[in-house]
Amino acid sequence: VTVHALSDRLGPYLDGELAESQARRVEAHLAACSRCRAELQEISTLSALLVEGAGPGLQVPTERFVAQVTQHLPSRPVWPVWRQALELGWQAAPWTILGGWAFAQAVLLVSGVIVTAFAMIPEIGDAIGWAPSAPGSGWPSQLTGLLVRAGLAAAAGGATDVFGVVAAWGWLPLVNLALLALVTLAYWSWLASWWARRCARTAVNGSG
């Protein structure tokens, strides 16, 4: 057994697996190389030997085999755990997306109302003791303090200046817009996958 320049291409050539240009290259080489011609002949002989030497193969009566397999089948196919989880997640996706969006809207609305109220009427912050000068401990009161400080900063330019408040809280609508875009994208992606599934199912049922 020898290994030559185009040796690795001879098997694929014999199997008809080479591109036309490569096959032509191999043919040109074979015309000039007796060693590769001999090797090609060996590969061809080997294929014949494998087929001839394989005998008639194992003959199993079809109906007996089918009956034996059917007899040993569990009652239903077992869905892999990851598939079950994926399916459940897919089914729940639109509700999760809508629920998340509604929750985010509620949070933004409530926080927007509170902060605007603090910004426009600073006395409220003083009255409930959440003035920026005396922030409480813990993240909820720190966050509130931050919001109040921002609101007061806006109010400093004129407590009733709506434009000042908007300028200070300009990021709120931006965040809202980004959130809306994200939710829309997620929802449309889900709808697209739902539609693809529906088409696949229709194709399967329709082809019967």
Binding site: I43, T45, L50, P77
Partner: protein, 184 residues
């Protein structure tokens, strides 16, 4: 035969995925010869092969909901059959009794029959002695006639790897069967 499942096979697969044993039986009826052939060439033993083929179909039934018809159903079955064959070989480990092997073609001439039996035995032993990765590509190519792309899909390896494994397998077999080849 080489493409993705279409038409009634898709319907059978969809029904079987929902637990329809009748639909699955029809799929077994359609593909059992190929699966038995693959495991038989891999195992080299009739009893072992039949058990492994049954095991392959039972595994296919269990994992059927995970099958997506992006690739041919036959290739998916062959992948399972290969694994079932390996498991059967591991379990039985050298239990081949040459007397039980159903490889002999009916020959009128006893001398020719003897020669053929001897040739088949050499081929069978050479196949069994091959490295498993080489054996599976040779079986799929030479006995099942799969294209390189289909072998790659079945074994989940790149086409380039199929090519190199086939080259190696053929060199290996030529060396192992050199005397037998000279007799031809």
């Amino acid at each position: 035969m080489s493409g993705k499942p279409t038409g009634d096979e898709l319907v059978l697969i969809a029904d079987a995925q929902q637990g329809d044993k009748g639909a699955f039986s029809e799929l077994v009826r359609r593909h059992h010869r190929g699966v038995i052939s693959v495991v038989y060439r891999m195992c080299g033993d009739a009893d072992l092969a039949e058990d492994a083929a049954q095991e392959a179909f039972i595994r296919a039934w269990q994992h059927l909901p995970g099958y997506r018809p992006r690739s041919p159903f036959r290739n998916w079955l062959y992948r399972i059959a290969m694994n079932a064959a390996y498991d059967a070989l591991r379990r039985e480990h050298e239990t081949v009794d040459p007397e039980t092997v159903v490889l002999v073609s009916p020959e009128a001439d006893p001398a020719a029959a003897m020669e053929q039996r001897e040739r088949e035995e050499r081929v069978r032993q050479a196949l069994r002695a091959m490295p498993p990765a080489s054996r599976e590509v040779i079986v799929l190519r030479e006995y099942e006639g799969l294209s390189y792309r289909e072998i790659a899909d079945t074994l989940d390896i790149p086409v380039g790897t199929v090519m190199s494994r086939l080259n190696y397998a053929r060199r290996w077999l030529r060396q192992a069967l050199i005397e037998t080849m000279e007799d031809l």
